[in-house]
């Protein structure tokens, strides 16, 4: 039920982004002057909402190697100093939180990233960091940080290049 509600809220968000094209969606949080319309966060299938599993689990704040679940996650993002609960909220499992404890929705995860990556966030908001699609003189589509950077290992992955051009030769 919850996931259906969540899906429909995404559809409304996409509708808002694509059709209504609001220059800025006013945030519920009075601290935020403006929110940026983005596509839904790139969750692994069926993993959200987290509370579906975590509601019945006791919170274990110990730093440890995960064995039963989430063992596929390799943390390569200041891993010496950080742990799951530095970003994921232990009380409200479906939210993230800033260093100061303010709850952040997954749809606004850029606010979390921006705590450390301030200049990048500033460039992203200005349209300089990250891909833009759409219209140079109108509606632009943004992506969340997490669409390109795995938050657990954010270095952009290397890829196979497209074929090299042919060297000039005899043209028939």
């Amino acid at each position: 039920m919850k996931s259906i509600r969540l899906k429909s809220s995404w559809i409304i968000l996409i509708f808002a982004v694509v059709v209504l094209n609001p220059p800025a969606i006013t945030g519920q949080d009075p601290q935020d002057q403006q929110e940026i319309a983005v596509p839904p966060p790139p969750f692994t299938e069926d993993i959200f909402p987290c509370s579906e599993c975590h509601a019945d689990l006791e919170v274990n704040r110990d730093r440890r190697e995960l064995e039963e679940f989430h063992d596929d996650i390799v943390l390569k993002h200041d891993e010496e100093n950080r742990w799951c609960l530095d970003c994921h909220d232990a009380e409200n499992r479906d939210m993230l939180h800033t260093a100061g404890g303010r709850l952040i929705d997954y749809k606004e995860s850029y606010k979390l990233c921006g705590q450390c990556h301030g200049p990048k966030l500033r460039d992203w908001k200005a349209g300089i960091h990250g891909r833009r699609t759409g219209f140079w003189n109108g509606q632009k589509e943004y992506l969340l940080c997490a669409h390109c950077h795995d938050p657990h290992a954010p270095q952009y992955p290397r890829m196979t290049p497209e074929p090299a051009p042919k060297k000039p030769g005899i043209i028939k």
């Binding site: 200005a126 300089i128 891909r131 140079w136 003189n137 390109c148 890829m159 290049p161 090299a164 051009p165």
Partner: protein, 304 residues
């Protein structure tokens, strides 16, 4: 009456009229050889900038019919004029580009470049981090398993859309010029294929159709612009137009949209809130071969 008088004698008619008659006879023969009425019309077509709106419409209809027949699908040829208050510029983040060449092939598909013989409007150069920007030792033909390759960075080069374009000055017939929105374009019907513009361009950004254009029908992009991505023919020069068919409709160029790392930025220099203006005001920006005073509107910057 001697026989001499019945011949087109230079003495009687003068050298000038003799040459005139000879030239007209041979050009008439050439026109006959054109075959169809359409190719005759194409042959007699004026240069794009002297055409009246009615003539442009007639030419567009002729081209659309010609392409639709040749490729077996509905083609549209636009002659969309520049948008008011626009002067386009481009910026490329050297610190972001990973050399994946997605832009190269995105451009080929969007702009109907010949597949074989191969024409690429974008050339991604691989350079060593140790030496910095060095065209002499750049590698266009790198074939690594994965990019970015250790110790290297990438510098894609395409038409720099100069404000002071040497190619335009080099053209002897005025077949290439700068549009009011800053795009340097080519009239493929007026180009005589002399390649003087290619000699003039210091960026190697102009490409010549040496052979019959190899463009498989199923790979064509039928949404075209007269001064942009309409199919070309053998013997003409072509180049990047900032995707004139897209940007004059407000859309981003194809290379901007296909770049997976978002290294490519495009916008209107006249809009102070534009991304390009932000880059020029806040980032370290370079232009290529500044000393030649070509004044490119294609800026390279370091996003980090």
């Amino acid at each position: 009456m001697s026989i001499k008088r019945t011949v087109l004698s230079p003495q009687r008619y003068g050298r000038r009229s003799f040459l005139k008659a000879a030239a007209m006879t041979s050009s008439a023969a050439a026109l006959m050889a054109c075959g169809s009425r359409d190719s005759l019309k194409a042959f007699l077509q004026k240069d794009f900038r002297s055409l009246s709106p009615d003539e442009i419409q007639a030419i567009i209809r002729r081209l659309e019919a010609q392409y639709t027949q040749a490729f077996g699908k509905e083609f549209s040829v636009s002659a969309q004029e520049p948008l008011p208050e626009t002067f386009f510029a481009y910026a490329l983040d050297i610190s972001r580009c990973i050399g994946c060449r997605k832009c190269v092939y995105g451009c080929v598909e969007e702009n109907n470049q010949s597949r074989d013989p191969q024409i690429h409007w974008i050339q991604v150069l691989e350079m060593e981090k140790e030496t910095g920007i060095d065209f002499l030792h750049a590698n266009l033909y790198y074939t690594h398993e994965e990019v970015p390759y250790e110790g290297h960075f990438y510098l894609p080069v395409q038409c720099q859309q100069c404000k002071n374009p040497p190619c335009v000055k080099a053209c002897p017939v005025g077949a290439t010029w700068t549009e009011p929105d800053g795009i340097v374009v080519v009239d493929y019907n007026w180009c005589i294929g002399c390649r003087a513009c290619m000699a003039g361009c210091p960026y190697g950004a102009r490409h010549f159709n040496w052979g019959k254009v190899g463009l498989p029908a199923e790979e064509t992009n039928p949404a075209t612009h007269y001064l942009g991505n309409r199919p070309r023919s053998k013997g003409v020069v072509e180049k990047c137009t900032f995707c004139i068919q897209r940007v004059r409709e407000g859309r981003y160029p194809k290379c901007v949209e296909v770049c997976p790392v978002g290294a490519r930025k495009f916008g209107n220099l006249l809009d102070e809130n534009d991304e390009i203006r932000y880059i020029l005001e806040n980032k370290r920006v370079i232009i290529l071969k500044e000393e030649l005073n070509t004044q490119p509107k294609f800026y390279y910057f370091y996003g980090t």
